[in-house]
Subunit: 270 residues, 3 copies
């Protein structure tokens, strides 16, 4: 592996653009993290919107800069609204992110995710177990934890890229981004405390959607989401050593993170 | 414009009464801000209750001191529950607040809000775009942001007052309260950081309901909600300069705000 | 009353075991506290999962270490999912906790809670009004506040123990745990600020489920939940005197609480 300075350059440019344009991000996400996701997007500089009615969802997807589809607390009603939103986003040419939370063991979401992955997501973000399961292999996801190593998942991610054409971001101690025609990038930032707070991974998915709204390429957006969240996660630990304070410090770090921090701390490898 | 000391006197009296009586506020609000709204009411000194079942909603509206109806993540089920709650509140003679979040562009909520505004809300709270749209004019609401200036909205607010008989609170950099037979009051408190945290405006709507539960006049309750939230917003920025810490400091400021702070900081104009 | 050192010994052992095993806790809880409950479990050392679809709920209950059923914002859909989850938990031999929030005045939840209490909960947690109502007596619950004293509720709790076979935890200024064949234990820890933040009681119910996942006896789990939350509540007030900061400090205290703190601060009486 060699240091990948291009990934840092690209992320710095995208972060500046995101803050200039404040893209509207339509979040269809799970009930645990709704507020935290909105605050993470606001802290970073994007504009979140959460809408639940299927008809409104379809209307809104067409005016939003990007769409997030996170199936963490999926219900039949929400699945119907997500289908409508995805169709509207596709018709309007807006990128959307699929976050297949806890896919694999649970049957309903696994069926819905398998359907959604064929609808043209720009980015798929998941931990190793979720990526393996979404590609059609058996994995043992223990709820939302990942039991498979990211390294094991990378090969599977490449298969998922082939299946879907999406940029795939496999998250873990090291995040890995893979996309058609691009050399894979590893991002080795982050902090273990990020797993002690609910919603960090889900917020990363929303941030990937925010970057997708302003990026030329979904791959660059996926890398930016991983790098910005990872660097912010390190910054947050400098002021907060326990999980309550840490979740708040992470929002502050998403506000504070800038080009200087990304260049000083970024660990990206090709 | 001239300084309006009556608005400050009235708010001080209402705040003392609210803390003495701890009114029960029935919140039917959106999924993003449920927890934050409950914590804002508790911090201020009121007693929140969130109930979702239509039958229970109707039962509860009759024993609560006031009702909040916020349509930010409206669904068909929630609209049905809101109709039942509004009917019960009206029958029990309890005031209710309508917060028509993002009304205008999105069709389902716009239809429901147009129906609800005719059911006798005591207070309607919204940003300029929402007030314009609810009055029946075209506005371009970019999700929950406001694209119309408050000044433009004031004339429309007066029309909405005529249409509904409600006290109307138009929020923005300066908040303006208008009501039948009352001279309009402007409240020039607040801080830009309030727009970097989700749920501040929604919490203001809940606080308006809490004040309505203890006020003789919905207009005084609307002014009190604007002034208390604005002053608390300024206090919070003194201890927290970034959005994560700020959302927490704002809750602390709602606990700390008192007559001395309102008199020292309040900027109300007739 | 005499000091009950066994309760502290037992809680210290359970806390160590909980942190070693990180039990998966399936939370079916209310919409106000979902995120806070997840963060409280993570801070303590357990692994939360929230799942809403009835089919998935049943699948998941069978692999989780314990289940929480909290009816604070009960809907018809959620009641159906809870029935399925309880049946699956019982079939898999997993303990589950019933938190009958605001039961009594509101008819739908009262009917559902009366049904659920006969399905074999391991632990029932509620304030005095809720316990009285669940046992079948009339009480006047003012929403989620308790209007009956814990002392009045203790006799009723013993009746509820007879009716259900569950360990019953009555919460208030002093918490009391009662169970079949066990001497009642009172836990006199906690702080008044815990009532100024939404979700503390609900988080205590989730923590009772987490302890039930690793305990031999539901009674010991109920005592541990009361003692750990009470001691953490006292620790939190040492760093945070207002409700916004306090809710965050309480999460940090759930991370920090350990055997030394439990032994130094625990006030348990037989």
């Amino acid at each position: 592996m060699k240091a990948d300075i291009h990934a840092i350059d690209s992320t710095c440019a995208l972060l500046a653009k995101l803050r200039r344009e404040a893209p509207l991000v339509h979040c269809m996400t799970n009930a645990v993290v709704t507020g935290y996701t909105a605050n993470a997007l606001l802290a970073l500089g994007a504009a979140p919107a959460m809408i639940h009615d299927p008809e409104e969802t379809a209307q809104f997807a067409a005016i939003a800069g990007a769409l997030l589809v996170n199936i963490g607390t999926l219900t039949q009603d929400q699945a119907a609204a997500m289908r409508a939103a995805v169709a509207a986003a596709n018709q309007a040419g807006r990128p959307w992110v699929l976050d297949p939370v806890a896919v694999g063991f649970l049957s309903f979401r696994t069926t819905v995710a398998a359907e959604l992955k064929r609808k043209g997501p720009a980015i798929i973000r998941g931990n190793a177990s979720e990526i393996i399961a979404l590609a059609g292999f058996k994995a043992t996801a223990r709820g939302v934890d990942s039991t498979a190593a990211v390294s094991e998942a990378r090969e599977t991610a490449e298969l998922l890229v082939e299946q879907t054409g999406a940029a795939v971001l496999v998250t873990g101690e090291v995040d890995v981004a893979v996309a058609p025609g691009r050399e894979a990038v590893s991002i080795a930032n982050g902090h273990a405390m990020m797993t002690r707070v609910t919603g960090v991974g889900c917020a990363q998915g929303a941030i990937a959607a925010a970057f997708a709204a302003v990026a030329e390429s979904p791959f660059d957006a996926a890398v930016a989401a991983a790098l910005v969240m990872g660097v912010a996660g390190e910054m947050a630990y400098e002021t907060a050593k326990r999980p309550g304070a840490y979740q708040i410090a992470l929002l502050d770090a998403l506000d504070a993170v800038d080009e200087a921090a990304l260049r000083a701390r970024g660990k990206t490898f090709a």
